[in-house]
């Protein structure tokens, strides 16, 4: 029934449209005009619309910042993330004026130079000086951004040196769950391999490896001590996943057959971040950010950042992988 009504409405709309166009064409014919001719009135009207659009668009931009700006990620909870945020802000401070100024020019010119039969357009084919300016200026801005970006990138991607005091954690992704494995007292992860997956050994840890004994496997949530470097290594058992920890400005893909790594130093505890965000229930999260199957949208783990003391206490309560 509804389908029939919809079809009827569409048919009526088409017929109305056709009639409307026919009337418009007849009207133009009576006035001795060609309907497709773009009159000065059309140009004036549309150019005015472009002008209004400028204000509407910039207003919309400002409104979004006002309405949604508060919902963006809070301050970075990791050391390197502060550098990334600084570079991000700098980039935004460069591109926002460019975005606004070029739009002002675009819409202003369109408005100002709408067709008039009394005016002639300027025959202006090129200007080496102008073109040199607008090739050089972006080049300089880009050089700055590239240099800063690369410095930041290199320091972020350098693994934690062996001799520095740090925690080693392996994150394993599989459809649609995460497993964290702490290297334990010996700070070495036991070997692992998919062919060893069996029964409760869901991630294929090599039980014959002596380094495995003190490893700790965790689901659901994992803890980190504040201000201690964490070296992550990533594995995947099936398809590509991506370990994304937005509050720490950290992300790395988990690729089957490949071990990837990322490291950061958490700087704000969960308790502190709850105060900063004024949200009692706030938790740091690890989520999957590479399409991995039907339940990709729900593959998560909580991360708790706490004092060294609390962390030690928590870690002691976790079972070691002895068999």
């Amino acid at each position: 029934m509804i389908t029939t009504i919809i079809v009827l409405i569409i048919l009526l709309a088409i017929i109305t449209g056709v009639q409307f166009l026919k009337i418009a064409e007849l009207g133009a014919k009576n006035r001795g005009e060609l309907i497709y001719e773009i009159t000065e009135k059309d140009s004036k009207g549309q150019s005015l619309m472009v002008f209004i659009f400028l204000f509407a668009y910039m207003g919309f931009f400002a409104w979004q910042i006002w309405a949604w700006g508060g919902w963006l990620l809070p301050v970075s909870a990791s050391k390197h993330g502060v550098g990334i945020d600084f570079l991000m802000n700098l980039t935004l401070w460069i591109i926002t004026p460019v975005f606004i100024i070029t739009h002002v020019f675009l819409c202003w010119f369109a408005y100002k130079f709408a067709f008039s039969s009394k005016r002639k357009a300027l025959f202006f084919t090129h200007s080496n000086r102008l073109e040199l300016i607008w090739t050089t200026v972006p080049s300089i801005a880009l050089t700055v951004l590239i240099l800063m970006g690369l410095t930041n990138w290199n320091s972020t991607m350098t693994p934690v040196p062996e001799e520095t005091d740090h925690i080693l954690i392996e994150l394993t992704g599989q459809q649609f769950t995460w497993t964290a494995r702490y290297a334990g007292k010996d700070k070495v992860l036991g070997r692992s391999q998919v062919t060893l997956i069996e029964g409760t050994n869901a991630t294929g840890v090599d039980t014959s490896d002596v380094n495995t004994k003190d490893d700790k496997l965790l689901k659901g949530e994992f803890h980190l001590p504040v201000n201690v470097p964490v070296q992550f290594v990533f594995r995947s058992l099936d398809v590509i996943h991506s370990a994304y920890m937005p509050h720490f400005r950290a992300q790395m893909n988990c690729v089957p057959g490949l071990r990837t790594q990322f490291n950061f130093v958490p700087t704000i505890t969960t308790a502190e971040m709850r105060k900063i965000t004024k949200n009692e229930k706030f938790n740091y999260i690890l989520l999957c950010n590479k399409i991995c199957g039907a339940a990709h949208y729900n593959m998560q783990m909580d991360i708790i950042v706490e004092s060294q003391q609390d962390y030690d206490k928590w870690l002691a309560e976790q079972k070691e992988f002895k068999q």
């Binding site: 309907i35 497709y36 919902w71 025959f123 950290a250 990709h296």
Partner: protein, 592 residues
């Protein structure tokens, strides 16, 4: 009897197996738009799920059937919709639809050739595209559903039916369709290159070509360089899926089983895929930029500013586009040093892009702009190219990409800079060259309405996505409701979805205008926009060979608009001088 038979044959060869570039162009246009409409409808459907997750919709139930029990899209079918939307829009509408239509229509007409270098290959190109489209559409109806590993089809997800049902027969058909599509694209591109290089009319040197032709030419070059790599990537994936090889697969445990594959790497696929995937962005963008250059100049009654700089920047973009693919892979585990190199090359693209924008602005400055729907869409393109372009500086910077990679920030960025820009260019081209395609005029008032609704909705849809991304919302999520962190985002998602629904209906205005004008629109004059390029010297009616009598000879560049003598009077008596008009006695040729 015999005459009747003859007529039938005529029909078949005139409309179906035509080797005439103008007819093939129409075929590409109509097929491209039909595919585009399907892609658009898909996005509107999955926007319903994102705006109102889990809610039942009658229309979803009606259109998707078993993909959406009780009117709620199933999670894996949501991914099918996303995947097919991307595939159809990027390849079928914006590559074949855009390039196929305008390269075919304009290359022979604007360079002064009777037809393409090989009409037969041209026909094959269309029919491969057609077959590919049909196979892609059939894949929607097979068991397990259509491909659902994202349009980037990264293995192992795309290789293993155990990982997602869409990676069964649906994925096989996707790969076959794409292989055929690539053959179509290569046949077309080779033809465009050969035609532009060899069939230019007398006097038409490379620096007298309209910028449209430069754009189509460079697009074809990028296509020939990069599409074969995607073909090999797809073939190796076929081997991995069907013949047990391990190019991309290693150490996999899925569906309770350890797979035999070992030694391969999915990263290899990503490299091969993006070796096409990134140039692909410019394959859809360059034709749109070429079209806009031509339209902005013509309708501003003013020469394009910096003609040679425009060619130079397009060449730079074409070259750089082939060495930046790694910026899609900053966080894949690729060596960080390589990441640094790709950051450098990627950010360099901003320079020629900026040059193009400034040249557009200067072309408008002190022009005498006639506001046709085409020029509105061209101005819209400059706006989207700026809006989407500047956020490229965020994403291209590897350090910043870490935290916005694969979030909605990316979705917002590429939909604006590539999706909107390319489709605006395509709309502009259709409004502008409609008289050349169908010999009739489109209705301007409906065109204005279409433009304003479209641009308002476009920004309403894609601008807020940057905010989602900066809040950490990942793309390709069926719903954000599993994370308390994202609870606020439902408002933004409803906002976006509302605009998406309006945008869908706004496109119906265009389709109506298109069909009505093609059948019943007022007859077009030969040169309705008073353009300089050669296509406007050809008769309105489509004749074999394009011109009655001799092909016009070219004496000047195509941008002699509003050229005046020392007294400030128009040299030709009007504000334009077509390319086939010889230079006047005291007239200097422009050194543009």
């Amino acid at each position: 009897m015999s005459t009747h038979h003859h007529q039938k044959e005529d029909f078949l060869f005139k409309y179906i197996f035509s080797t005439d570039h103008k007819m093939i162009s129409k075929q590409f246009l109509i097929t491209g738009f039909l595919m585009g409409f399907i892609g658009l409808a898909m996005s509107t459907l999955f926007r319903l799920q994102l705006g109102w997750p889990g809610e039942s919709f009658k229309i979803v139930d009606l259109l998707l059937g078993s993909w959406a029990e009780n009117g709620v899209i199933a999670p894996d079918k949501y991914l099918s919709l996303v995947t097919m939307h991307g595939t159809i829009m990027v390849f079928f509408m914006l590559t074949a639809g855009l390039s196929g239509t305008f390269s075919n229509l304009l290359i022979p007409l604007q360079i002064g050739a009777r037809d393409m270098a090989s009409g037969f290959l041209n026909m094959l190109s269309y029919w491969f595209f057609f077959i590919s489209s049909i196979i892609m559409l059939i894949s929607l109806f097979v068991e397990g559903g259509a491909a659902s590993a994202g349009w980037t089809i990264y293995p192992p997800l795309s290789a293993l039916p155990q990982a997602i049902p869409g990676s069964g027969l649906g994925m096989t058909l996707w790969l076959i369709a794409m292989a055929i599509f690539i053959v179509s694209s290569l046949l077309g591109s080779l033809n465009y290159i050969v035609t532009v290089l060899n069939l230019r009319t007398k006097g038409m040197s490379m620096t007298k070509l309209p910028l449209t032709i430069w754009a189509f030419f460079l697009t074809a070059v990028i296509g020939v360089v990069s599409f074969p790599v995607l073909l090999s990537a797809a073939l190796l994936l076929v081997f991995d899926r069907s013949f047990g090889t391990s190019f991309y697969l290693s150490d996999i445990y899925v569906g309770g089983q350890v797979l035999e594959h070992s030694g391969g790497s999915p990263i290899l696929f990503e490299h091969l895929f993006w070796f096409l995937g990134h140039p692909e962005v410019y394959i859809v963008l360059l034709p749109a930029l070429g079209i806009t250059s031509e339209i902005i100049s013509t309708m501003s009654r003013k020469p394009i500013f910096g003609y040679r700089a425009m060619i130079g920047s397009m060449m730079a973009i074409a070259f750089l586009s082939c060495i930046v693919w790694g910026h899609h892979m900053f966080v894949t585990g690729m060596n960080p040093f390589l990441g640094a190199v790709f950051t450098f090359t990627t950010l360099l693209i901003a320079i020629p892009s900026a040059v193009k924008v400034f040249n557009y602005l200067t072309t408008l400055w002190k022009g005498n702009i006639k506001f046709s729907p085409a020029v509105l869409f061209s101005i819209g393109l400059v706006s989207t190219f700026i809006t989407g372009g500047v956020t490229g500086l965020v994403l291209g910077d590897s350090a910043l990409d870490i935290n916005v990679h694969d979030t909605y920030f990316v979705v917002g960025h590429f939909h604006i800079v590539m999706g909107l820009s390319a489709i605006f260019g395509m709309f502009a081209g259709v409004y502008h060259w409609f008289p050349k395609i169908f010999g009739r005029m489109m209705n301007n008032k409906l065109g204005y309405l279409h433009f304003w609704l479209t641009i308002v909705c476009s920004y309403g849809i894609f601008f807020p996505m940057h905010f989602l991304g900066l809040a950490g919302v990942p793309r390709r999520y069926y719903t954000n409701s599993e994370f308390p962190l994202f609870d606020n985002m439902i408002d933004i998602n409803q906002f976006i979805s509302t605009f998406a629904i309006i945008a869908f209906f706004a496109q119906l205005i265009f389709f109506f205008n298109f069909v009505y004008s093609a059948l019943k629109g007022p007859k077009a004059p030969q040169n309705p926009w008073k353009g300089n390029a050669l296509e406007w010297t050809a008769p309105v009616e489509h004749i074999h060979g394009n011109w009655y009598g001799e092909i016009p000879t070219v004496y000047r560049w195509p941008y002699d608009y509003s050229k005046v003598d020392e007294n400030g009077e128009y040299i030709s008596g009007d504000d334009y001088i077509p390319q086939n008009v010889p230079l006047g006695e005291n007239e200097k040729e422009e050194t543009h």
